[in-house]
């Protein structure tokens, strides 16, 4: 008799809070049997429900917003239950940490396998006796500025992300806690500098990174990775350009989400923080993967590749093989210098004024 009545009421009036009513319904179902029987001790333990769990399940499942008012001042303090927290936990613990970890390990292993197969890509014509100015001092400065900041942020971030499964078993909780605190504070403080570095790098290199006609061809030929032949390219090749634009766009996502996380001052609640964390983590892991490849080419992957960023000058043969369009133009302009001249410019003697102008303009 009772059940239909309550249900009917519920159907007729869905406007006001009915979640306790739901509870009632739940308990009115086996009411006849429970009411007759002595309570609790005689019942099997499994039948004892946690009333708090019941209550909160109902809070969570009802249609109405779970936000109320409270005397406690603070962001989100009126929110009764934040269901996204659980989704965020699942993302972090079941997807981000295992998948991200294996993905990074996969990249390293793939590069190792590639290195074993291909070895160091040599300059085919071997080193020539001439060099081309490739990057100015300013360009190298901002590159290494960004590189040092990126490395610091990547290492501290990876320690915070993978520290619990990887480092705690090795260091113990106390020692890792000290390391993690250092990483957290360092990450938070240095983080905003990445924005500064990104702006400097973007404004200096953007013009040479606009996609051009030959780039599609470079992509179709796999950038010369698949075959043995070099693919023609301008100052930057298609891969470098793509890395640049990833750095710009993914970097922007990382920076913006990072600022959301590091300045909890603008009333952004937990949901924004969770979202920002997801974007930050995915973007950062993506960039770390790309940069591992970048570092691979610069260090052990290719002969002569790092020279331009180290000294400002690259080998003429290397330039002709990897950036032939630019190298051709630069040589026509008479920018090629002999190794002795370059040695003079970079090491032994102060800059002669005529050459000094040229180094400042190098790579433009």
């Amino acid at each position: 008799m009772i059940r239909p009545k309550i249900l009917q009421f519920d159907d007729g009036d869905g406007r006001s809070a009915g979640w306790l009513l739901l509870l009632l319904i739940l308990y009115s179902l086996p009411l006849d049997t429970i009411a007759k029987e002595p309570i609790s001790k005689d019942l099997p333990a499994a039948a004892v429900l946690n009333p708090a769990a019941e209550l909160w399940r109902d809070v969570r499942q009802r249609d109405q917003p779970t936000t109320g008012s409270t005397q406690v001042r603070g962001v989100d303090s009126g929110v009764l239950i934040n269901a996204y927290g659980d989704q965020w936990r699942k993302f972090r613990m079941q997807q981000l940490i295992p998948v991200g970890g294996y993905a990074l390990m996969g990249i390293v292993i793939a590069l190792a396998v590639f290195y074993l197969m291909r070895g160091k890509v040599p300059i085919e014509g071997s080193e020539s006796d001439k060099k081309l100015p490739r990057y100015s001092t300013y360009e190298r400065m901002i590159h290494w500025f960004m590189a040092s900041i990126f490395l610091f942020l990547a290492i501290t971030g990876l320690i915070l992300l993978f520290g619990r499964p990887v480092l705690i078993p090795m260091l113990g909780k106390e020692a890792f806690s000290i390391l993690a605190s250092a990483c957290k504070e360092g990450h938070n403080l240095i983080g905003p500098l990445f924005l500064f570095a990104l702006i400097l790098v973007f404004s200096q290199f953007v013009r040479r990174n606009i996609y051009q006609k030959g780039d599609l061809n470079w992509l179709l030929k796999g950038g010369g990775i698949v075959g043995k032949k070099h693919v023609s390219s301008n100052f930057f090749n298609m891969g470098e350009k793509t890395m640049f634009w990833m750095l710009v766009f993914v970097g922007a996502v990382i920076v913006i989400s990072g600022l959301v996380l590091v300045f909890p001052l603008f009333g952004q609640g937990r949901e924004w923080m969770e979202l920002a964390h997801v974007g930050h983590a995915i973007g950062a892991l993506l960039m770390i993967g790309v940069i591992i490849g970048h570092i691979y080419i610069g260090t052990i992957g290719m002969q002569g590749a790092i020279e331009g960023m180290k000294t400002g000058y690259c080998d003429l043969n290397w330039a002709k093989e990897h950036h032939d369009l630019w190298a051709g133009r630069a040589e026509e302009r008479g920018e090629a210098l002999s190794n002795e001249e370059v040695a003079q410019l970079t090491h032994n003697h102060p800059l002669p004024s005529s050459l000094g102008v040229r180094t400042q303009e190098a790579g433009k």
Binding site: M141, F145, S177, S181, A182, E185, N188, L189, T346, L351
Partner: protein, 213 residues
């Protein structure tokens, strides 16, 4: 154990070395004296010195037209380091507790961090400029690099200890600061004090000659 050593005797030792060293270096410069200038003064040496000490805080025009980033980085680093060294709450507390017993108003925490960011950006860029630019690399000796690395270490360990909750991190910061203090008087880092003398010497010489320089 080692913590007590860093906190106590080593701190006293390094502060003593620093103070005696700085006084000794400055005294050596002052006692070196000046050659007598017999020419009739055409202007005031004192005014020239005073002018030079302050006017040199602004860059010379030829410098501003060359590399702008190193110039900006120089200001970022020096102003940032000055602000965070003397106006950060933890440093003021430390100075009050350990040295002077005096304290003064501190910057808000966010300003302290911003100053630290400026200092970091400036120092990294300047050091990169030092090793990447052919001329500055040629001019730099080991002392420059040790000084830069020590200052960077002090700043980095300070940044890592920002939570102010873990004793080992504070001790590492303190240890690096002590190493810097010991190294300071015997290096080019002394320019933090001697810039006054070099500027005023030039200023006085020129002022006496009636030259505004």
């Amino acid at each position: 154990m080692i913590g007590q050593f860093i906190d106590g005797p080593l701190w006293t030792f390094s502060l003593t070395v620093f103070l005696i060293g700085v006084v000794w270096r400055i005294a050596a410069i002052l006692m070196a004296g000046k050659r007598p200038d017999l020419a009739t003064p055409k202007g005031s040496a004192g005014a020239g010195a005073l002018r030079a000490v302050f006017s040199r805080f602004l860059p010379e025009r030829t410098v501003t037209t060359q590399g702008r980033l190193p110039l900006i980085a120089g200001y970022l680093f020096h102003l940032g380091l000055f602000a965070l060294l003397f106006f950060a709450q933890p440093h003021i507390d430390f100075i009050a507790e350990k040295i002077t017993g005096l304290s003064w108003p501190a910057m808000p925490h966010w300003a302290f961090i911003v100053a630290a960011e400026f200092a970091f950006a400036g120092l990294i860029l300047l050091w990169l400029h030092r090793i990447l630019h052919p001329v500055t690399r040629l001019l730099s000796d080991l002392d420059d690099h040790i000084g830069a690395v020590l200052v960077f270490l002090v700043m980095l360990t300070g940044c890592l200890a920002l939570a102010q909750a873990f004793e080992p991190l504070r001790l590492i910061h303190l240890l690096s600061a002590e190493l810097l203090l010991i190294y300071f008087p015997f290096s080019k880092l002394m320019h933090a004090f001697t810039f006054v003398m070099s500027r005023s010497y030039t200023g006085a010489t020129m002022g006496r000659k009636g030259v505004n320089a």
